[in-house]
Amino acid sequence: MIDEQALLLVLPILLLQLALMIFALVDLIKNPNPNGPKWMWAAIIVLLNIIGPILYFIIGRRNY
């Protein structure tokens, strides 16, 4: 089902998702005071792709 062309097309999306997840995780590790338990945010970031990191950046960072 997955041919090479499809893989090449979808690869950039996967890389971007991965980048987003890594940014969020790095920030979470460095964050001394996230809005909620750290393990919960780690699970959200890893399990919900795209939406998880966005949720963390908007709600979890407590930057306001």
Partner: protein, 261 residues
């Protein structure tokens, strides 16, 4: 001038350290790429999701590339705008609460530079986001379907950029005027979404309304918008941007006493 550049540097550092420079463009690129890809793989997606009886044949009309770009814009109009509002709702209202404001307001601060530095940085990031998002969408559409003439695409993206500038100005104005980040988001979203709804339902005569800029942008991919109406809407949008910015500066000055010490 010196103050503006210092404040700009502060804004830039803040946006790098809270990763906004990275994650907002990534979200827009993902939005831009998903639309053409999911259209291209629609038959396979339906197939994999199941639920169709064996032997069912559905003919999919080949979507026009212009339609796909307009669909990308539709994503930006909902999810994209929500992301921008939520990302920048705290830029002034939040600073009053988290203590940055007390550090800043204790100095002889020019509120014009203060507001402008925030406006410039938020606009810069919003512009980078929508342009990379649109270019990614354009590229994928061209590879998977066929290319839209690049000139039309440029006019489309430039017109939409003006609309996004208006949105960013609205967000910062709300952030200056409102006491908290939550109320900022409420005000900005209400104005942007409800006004667009009302404009779409009742405003067929208000051809100069800046709220029609996204429609005019989409029209550039087709036959092009009506010249007079388009120029009117652009001029009115620019006036709105200046007006909102002026009120934003005034409000950020007036509300400085609301800073939490």
């Amino acid at each position: 001038m010196k103050q503006l550049s210092t404040l700009l540097l502060k804004e830039w550092r803040e946006n790098v350290r809270n990763y906004k420079v990275f994650w907002i463009p990534v979200v827009f690129i993902l939005l831009g790429v998903t639309e053409p890809l999911s259209n291209y793989y629609l038959p396979q997606i339906l197939d994999a999701a199941g639920g169709l009886p064996d032997g069912a044949v559905i003919e999919f009309p080949e979507p026009e590339p212009e339609q796909l770009l307009v669909a990308v814009m539709g994503q930006f109009q909902t999810i994209g705008m929500l992301v921008l509002v939520l990302a920048y709702m705290g830029s002034i209202a939040g600073e009053r609460r988290n203590g940055t404001a007390t550090l800043l307001y204790a100095r002889p601060l020019s509120f014009t530079s203060y507001f402008l530095s925030k406006w410039m940085m938020a606009s810069l990031i919003a512009m980078i986001s929508i342009w990379t998002g649109f270019l990614a969408g354009y590229y994928y559409t061209a590879v998977l379907f066929s290319a839209v003439p690049f000139g039309d695409f440029l006019l489309f993206a430039i017109t939409y950029s003006l609309w996004i500038l208006l949105v960013v100005t609205m967000i910062l104005f709300a952030s200056a005027a409102m006491p908290s980040a939550g109320l900022t988001a409420a005000l900005a979203l209400t104005v942007l979404i409800i006004a667009q709804l009302v404009d779409g339902l009742l405003g067929s005569r208000w051809i100069w309304s800046p709220l029609k800029l996204p429609n005019y942008a989409a029209a550039f991919l087709d036959i092009g918008p009506d010249g007079g109406a388009f120029v009117g809407a652009v001029l009115l949008a620019i006036i709105c941007i200046f007006g909102l910015a002026a009120f934003g500066i005034w409000f950020s000055k007036r509300n400085r006493s609301k800073a939490k010490v």
